[in-house]
């Protein structure tokens, strides 16, 4: 099964906006090719993790090798590459795409093209893919295939006359999709006799097998016992097993040019397995790696602290375990005067941040406090050196700073034109610079440059709420630029709370400061002492709120029968105190930290 001639291999990925039916279609294709029996089919075979299932987001790339007897009488190997489905993982997506020659562009015929579709489709075009448009959900009465075809042609510039019309739900048109893959996608190319070059598409940690590496062989072969070298790091490992996913793991003798599959090589952590790296043979190594490798760099950082200080070691262990499986996520120990011992963690984006946080809480049963997400600023000192700032609390004294640069993104927003006004206002409010604005039918596509800082700050939630959920949004990093940034400190009874400090553009500082103070006033319950909450830039107070002291808080009647109940309540309250953070005399509930971050500016 490894000596499939190149002419009978097709490697493809599926591009779709969330909920347009990618997973359902994948399931149908697997079923149609007999990859799994009906009994083994559970919905959405490819979404492995609980979070993936719930959110409908794929975090890791996966492949499935399908065997398809085509109408031309030949049997083809169709490798489906399921790519991560979110802009945070744009680089990972680009590597998955680089492993294929073509894509199915799945568009929900009742919804039309969305921002995420656009971004991914452009990436696929960049990767040189042949693209087959597929209109899904044509079983729905609201389906408008003709309008959506026109949209694909207008917006993306792809001919859509030959779009395959399907219903992934009912199975209608699945055969046409399979035929289109064979007839319309080009076969892969490669040299069996050339030095081995395989693209490392993704990797994950498996408790039994160690690290499993997903590969696409370009030239040469991968086989058991071979000593392979990772070209970016130079690390060498002996291959223990080679296999494919059907989607079950099946070992094979070797993988040749054009093929996709996995290898294991006794590797203990994915940190050695960088997405996009080139794997070659250690003895007869290739001279040039495959193009496009980039080490992954976190763009958003935040502090994660255990709610219960006793959980610090457990947090360290859990982060270690997650990192085994996700090399794009970084962490280093950090201490905060307010929150104690924790970690500063770096992520590929906001979704990535949320996913990691959620997994820590769910899979590792940790209660966490997260500080406000921060982007990476570049501080140019008056002495001329440059440092990267991951934590607003570490901002050096302004007198030592010559200037600060902040990261920008290029955002593509797709929205029905009824809501365009709101969106443009939001972008302007967030210091956006319009790059492009085009209309397609009754939809608009706005392309903006925005400071990433403005986007981590509840941009996405606002975008959704002001467009009643209709706007879709996608972004790519777009360099650094000088900016007038200031650090805003939050003071509780005069003491700065490091974990609440944040950096904002001077023009936004006051508004943000005021908003946080108001929010904290709502969230911090009255206590024994009066509490002053202030926001400041340096020594200048820009906002202030006061929480009055409790004037009366005592149980009115307390008799013999109440003692046990009152004691238990007292014990619970004492336990609850552990979840409060003490600032001088003031206790701040952790919900205040969480909520202070999720704010409408």
């Amino acid at each position: 099964m490894t000596d499939t001639p190149l002419s009978r291999i097709r490697n493809f990925s599926i591009i779709a906006h969330i909920d347009h039916g990618k997973s359902t279609l994948a399931d149908r294709l697997i079923q149609a090719c007999g990859g799994l029996t009906d009994r083994e089919m559970k919905d959405q075979v490819l979404d492995n993790m609980e979070i993936e299932r719930e959110r409908g987001i794929t975090i890791k790339a996966q492949t499935v090798r399908l065997t398809y007897p085509a109408k031309d009488g030949q049997t083809y190997v169709l490798n489906l590459m399921d790519t991560p489905g979110h802009v945070d993982f744009a680089y990972e997506v680009s590597r998955s795409l680089a492993a294929c020659e073509g894509s199915l562009l799945v568009v929900d015929a009742s919804q039309g093209v969305e921002a995420q579709t656009l971004a991914n489709v452009y990436q696929a075009i960049d990767a040189g893919h042949e693209i087959v448009p597929v209109l899904n959900k044509i079983d729905l009465p609201a389906a408008e295939p003709d309008r959506v075809k026109a949209q694909i042609e207008d917006v993306i510039g792809l001919p859509a006359d030959d779009a395959v019309m399907i219903s992934a739900k009912t199975g209608l048109g699945i055969g046409d999709v399979l035929e289109a893959l064979v007839t319309r996608l080009p076969p892969p190319q490669g040299e069996a006799e050339a030095p081995t070059k395989a693209l490392l598409v993704d990797s994950w940690y498996d408790a039994y097998l160690g690290v499993v590496i997903l590969v696409r062989v370009k030239d040469g072969r991968l086989k058991r016992g071979q000593r392979i070298r990772f070209m970016s790091s130079g690390a060498v490992h002996p291959v223990e097993a080679v296999g494919v996913f059907t989607p079950k793991m099946v070992t094979v003798e070797s993988l040749g040019p054009g093929e996709m599959g996995y290898i294991t090589a006794g590797i203990k952590t994915v940190a050695d397995c960088n997405v996009g790296d080139t794997i070659t043979d250690d003895r007869t190594a290739a001279t040039e790696p495959l193009p496009g490798f980039k080490p992954s760099i976190p763009v958003v950082w935040c502090g994660l602290y255990p709610t219960d200080a006793d959980d610090f070691e457990k947090l360290r262990e859990s982060l270690g375990k997650l990192r085994l499986n996700d090399a794009s996520f970084h962490y280093e120990p950090e201490t905060s005067a307010a929150l104690g011992f924790g970690f500063r963690c770096g992520f590929l984006g906001l979704l990535h941040l949320e996913i990691i946080q959620e997994r820590l809480q769910r899979e590792f049963d940790l209660d966490l406090i997260a500080t406000a997400p921060s982007v990476v600023y570049r501080i140019h000192s008056t002495k001329g050196d440059v440092t990267e700032l991951h934590n607003p609390a570490d901002m050096p004294d302004p007198s030592t700073i010559d200037h600060i640069e902040e990261p920008w993104i290029k955002a593509t927003i797709f929205v029905p034109d009824d809501y365009l006004g709101n969106i443009l206002a939001l972008c302007n409010e967030r210091r956006g610079q319009q790059v492009d604005l085009t209309y397609v039918g009754n939809r608009a596509m706005a392309v903006y440059r925005l400071p990433l800082n403005e986007v981590v700050f509840d941009f996405y939630d606002r975008l959704k709420s002001i467009s009643r959920g209709y706007a879709s949004f996608d972004y790519a990093m777009d360099g650094y630029a000088d900016s007038e940034l200031v650090k805003i400190s939050i003071l509780v009874n005069g003491d700065p709370v490091d974990a609440l400090a944040f950096i904002a553009h001077r023009s936004q500082a006051e508004k943000r400061g005021r908003a946080i103070c108001e929010k904290l006033k709502e969230l911090i319950p009255k206590q024994l002492f009066k509490i002053a909450i202030q926001a400041s830039i340096g020594s200048r107070i820009i906002a202030r709120e006061t929480i009055g002291a409790l004037s009366k808080d005592v149980t009115a009647k307390c008799y013999g029968g109440d003692i046990t109940r009152k004691r238990k309540l007292l014990e619970k309250q004492k336990e609850g105190k552990k979840r409060m953070r003490q600032f001088g005399k003031v206790e701040i509930p952790q919900t205040a930290f969480l909520a202070a971050l999720k704010m409408d500016a």
Binding site: L528, K557, G561, R567
Partner: protein, 388 residues
């Protein structure tokens, strides 16, 4: 805990029945069409014998008939229980014997009978002296009946107390002062003034959640409380506990047993007790539902649901949370003896120093640790920080 001359024991008897359920009330109270009073009485007497046997012969310091509405008992039943209690816990001094009474006509007719049966202190559930307020509270009596009850209590009993509920929706400080003053005019020696509390599971809780009951805010509550203390003082009654006022010497001896963490036995459905069992301080709880309790007593001689030995930490917390409610505070020597650990070990030193610094706690000239007037008002916020 072996005392050479045994400390007196307090005895609580619960009568769980009422004419109607008041919408604010979360006590173990039940409304029943028909009642087998003799059967109930036998069960109480059986539990009394059960407790007497295991506690041993100690003098009876106080006996309290609480409810529910114990004034719905016949004076006969009350007399039988008093006699049995005195016999079980013999002592030289006459115990304080209190009975809670509601001011409906049925019960008013029995006050003299209760006195003749041996009750020497009456506690009247007046709640309000205003018909609108009484209706709001779902009470079955009128302001006029309440006034008559106060007058009658005054003439029948040397020691009489009454309960009022304040911080009712829309209540002004002026109106409340007037109400307290009128009640105090009868010259009773003791009063309990409770701030209306929304208790979980009550109809008031649901109404409150629906926004139908708007309670005075915290500042208004504090003002009402201050007015209460002032009015009581004018009548010669001083606050000896958060919500209780007495003419000096006429404090409720029974309730003092709770607040000073003395031994008390509790019998009847849902009653709680704190008694030494085989030398170990123990919390006792009775089955709550009246019928189930009664069946258990008939089957096995008692209706105990749960008994929990209390380690020193638990005792220390209980003693702190009760004792700091008292104006006189907690005596360290007594604390160490009752809780089984020194007072300073039971407190967070920093929180203690801070509370003293803020003027919420103080060492009294008798060497006790007490909450100040300001501290008593904030006790619920203070305790979780203060206790270890």
């Amino acid at each position: 805990m072996s005392n050479p001359s045994p400390e007196p024991v307090a005895l609580y008897v619960h009568w769980p029945f009422c004419l109607a359920r008041c919408p604010y009330c979360d006590f173990n109270a039940h409304v029943r069409e028909r009642l087998d009073e003799p059967r109930y009485r036998s069960a109480i007497l059986a539990e009394l014998a059960f407790e007497a046997a295991r506690i041993g012969p100690r003098p009876l310091g106080s006996l309290f008939f609480g409810g529910g509405t114990p004034s719905l008992m016949s004076p006969d039943t009350v007399g039988a229980i008093i006699a049995a209690a005195k016999a079980a816990f013999p002592g030289a001094e006459e115990p304080e014997i209190t009975l809670e009474a509601n001011p409906t006509s049925v019960e008013l007719g029995r006050l003299a009978g209760f006195r003749d049966a041996g009750v020497n202190r009456i506690s009247l559930g007046i709640q309000a002296l205003d018909d609108t307020a009484l209706a709001f509270l779902g009470r079955k009596h009128t302001a006029e009946q309440a006034l008559a009850a106060l007058a009658q209590a005054r003439s029948l009993f040397r020691r009489a107390s009454f309960d009022l509920i304040y911080a009712r929706p829309g209540q002004s400080v002026t109106a409340w002062r007037d109400e307290v003053r009128r009640a105090l005019g009868f010259g009773l020696d003791h009063l309990s003034l409770y701030q209306l509390t929304i208790e979980p599971g009550t109809p008031f809780e649901r109404a409150h959640a629906r926004g139908e009951i708007a309670l005075p805010d915290e500042a208004e509550q504090a003002a009402l409380y201050a007015a209460t203390v002032e009015e009581a003082a004018k009548a010669g009654l001083s606050p000896y506990e958060v919500s209780n006022y007495a003419r000096p010497g006429d404090e409720s001896r029974h309730n003092l047993a709770y607040w000073s963490y003395a031994d008390y036995a509790g019998i009847g459905p849902g009653a709680h007790g704190r008694i030494p069992l085989a030398g170990v301080p123990t919390a006792t709880v009775r089955i709550r539902a009246p019928e189930a309790w009664m069946e258990a007593v008939e089957r096995r001689g008692h209706g105990v649901r749960e008994e929990e030995a209390l380690p020193p930490e638990a005792r220390a917390r209980e003693m702190l949370l009760m004792g700091l409610r008292l104006t006189r505070g907690i005596d360290p020597a007594r604390f160490a003896a009752r809780a089984g650990m020194p007072l300073e070990d039971a407190l967070e030193p920093r929180a203690l120093a801070q509370a003293i610094g803020e003027g919420w706690l103080a060492w009294t000239r008798h060497g006790a640790l007490a909450a100040t007037a300001a501290g008593r008002l904030r006790l619920d916020a203070l305790l979780p920080v203060l206790v270890r």
